[in-house]
């Protein structure tokens, strides 16, 4: 029975390898030994980058190259590792595609860049910086770290970020935050929708700003916030009973509201020029 399983596994491996060879794919692996708080940077033109933690002090980069039209320039200087996809002449989006799967020590700082692939990082407690004009960004389970995201039109999703310092700038991509809290959570968007679902933590500053995109914030009844919301040309809606407070602008029903909920532990500012703002009670 065991030998049959082994044979089946062998056949599977041969088939996968055969398919990869047939497609012209090349698999490469890079290993680096680093110290505490190392820095890992990966820049890719086409294709996803996924970063996960691994015990120990090794950075392991597995790259699947779609063809020989793309190379990988990898280097290490002390505790800094730099990986760059080097696109060769006459390459296309398909032939220059590289898929990265990266394992880093949990305290490593990670910087990822891709023009259009998915950027994913999870379970780290070093700083995370992700950028890409059309890249989709997905960051999960990060604790006690900076999370910086910049996209032009790619969607951004952050889930379960604790004690974070979160800064997101996206021109038109939709930004979704679920269970995100920290000393600073700041989202700046031009036309993308901003959705926040969380309790706004205990002593943070939350600033969600858009030009034309809608802003929706969902919080539990026990949330402790000092909230100001203002939409110059859009509408605002609030489901919480607010204790009134002094504001720097005239609070006009329907276009602005301000007040406190609970002990007002966190500051929440929701600003839009013409988007709709809604503070919902969960």
């Amino acid at each position: 029975m065991q030998s049959k399983r082994r044979a089946a596994k062998l056949v599977l491996v041969v088939m996968v390898a055969g398919a990869a060879l047939a497609a012209g794919e090349v698999r490469k692996e890079f290993r680096y030994t680093v110290g505490h708080h190392s820095s890992v940077s990966i820049s890719n033109q086409y294709g996803p980058i996924s970063v996960k933690p691994a015990p120990g002090n090794q950075v392991v980069v597995t790259a699947v190259l779609a063809s020989d039209k793309v190379e990988i320039d990898a280097s290490q200087n002390g505790d800094r590792v730099d990986i760059v996809s080097h696109v060769l002449p006459d390459a296309t989006a398909d032939s220059a595609r590289v898929e990265y799967l990266v394992q880093v020590p949990p305290d490593a700082s990670v910087s990822l860049h891709s023009v259009s692939g998915l950027l994913h990082a999870e379970r780290l407690h070093g700083d995370v910086s992700l950028e890409g004009p059309s890249a989709s960004v997905d960051v999960r389970d990060i604790t006690d770290a900076h999370v910086h995201v910049k996209t032009m039109n790619g969607p951004v999703t952050l889930v379960n970020i604790r004690q974070g310092h979160v800064e997101i700038a996206s021109v038109s991509g939709e930004v979704t935050l679920r269970s995100v809290s920290g000393s600073l959570v700041q989202v700046n968007s031009t036309s993308g929708k901003i959705s926040y679902d969380g309790d706004f933590g205990g002593a943070g500053r939350y600033v969600l700003t858009s030009h034309t995109g809608d802003i929706e914030a969902i919080a539990p009844p026990y949330a402790s916030i000092d909230v100001v919301a203002h939409s110059e040309k859009g509408t605002v809606e609030n489901d919480f009973p607010l204790q009134p407070e002094h504001t720097s602008f005239v609070v006009k029903a329907g276009s602005a509201f301000a007040g406190t909920v609970g002990k007002a532990a966190s500051s929440v500012k929701l600003f839009s020029f013409s988007g709709k703002i809604h503070l919902k009670k969960r």
Binding site: S43, S134, M152, V171, S191, S248
Partner: protein, 215 residues
């Protein structure tokens, strides 16, 4: 004889008959010669059609109504009535004329469609990216200070350039509105922050464009 003069008398010319002056013009002008050749082809084909099947009176009525609506003919009794005899022509000639009108109209429509199609293709280029890209909207003139950057991107990736252009337009609107807010109330700290945020968005676009090599 000029092309304009030739085309003015063309409808009056009996088929295949022209005088020396007209003949000389046709020999010297490929455009008019081609037009006469096309019309001859239409007339010949229309005759074949007519021989195959005589349309019902309803067809003539429909054509007449359409031509009246287009103003190409006027109701009987009108002072400038072109042809007391137009609808008294033999059906074959009426069919020929109607077919010619339809073919010419189709030609015009086809050309307009081609032009429109080209314009649509040009405008919708950003949509390629946007799974990502914003919904199609009217394009405005690009600010001169942005043109240089967009030209640089365009030379490497036209599709990306379209996405950058759309983003810059959105961001410039953001800045314009934020500036107006500050002008209304220069002491409003939130408005000042809003303006800084707007400029940050512009900085993001430029950073994306210039920091890394484009595909």
């Amino acid at each position: 004889m000029t092309c304009e003069q030739f085309r003015q008398i063309l409808p009056e010319m009996p088929e295949g008959v022209c005088d020396a002056e007209q003949d000389a013009h046709l020999k010297s002008c490929s455009e008019c010669s081609s037009l006469v050749s096309d019309l001859g082809f239409i007339i010949r084909e229309s005759r074949l059609l007519q021989m195959d099947e005589e349309p019902s009176p309803r067809v003539w009525n429909s054509i007449e109504i359409a031509l009246r609506q287009e103003g190409l003919i006027r109701p009987a009794g009108s002072p400038a009535h072109v042809s007391t005899g137009f609808w008294h022509w033999r059906p074959a000639w009426a069919l020929i004329s109607a077919t010619a009108v339809v073919v010419l109209a189709l030609g015009v429509a086809f050309n307009q469609h081609k032009r429109a199609g080209h314009e649509i293709a040009t405008i919708q280029t950003p949509a390629v990216l946007s799974a990502v890209a914003p919904p199609a909207k009217a394009r405005r003139a690009v600010a001169p200070e942005d043109r240089q950057m967009l030209d640089a991107i365009s030379s490497r990736s036209p599709v990306m350039a379209a996405a950058y252009e759309a983003s810059l337009q959105d961001v410039n609107d953001y800045i314009r509105d934020a500036e107006e807010s500050v002008q209304r109330d220069p002491n409003d700290e939130d408005a000042q922050q809003y303006l800084m945020d707007a400029y940050q968005q512009r900085a993001v676009v430029y950073q994306m464009a210039l920091d890394r090599p484009l595909p």
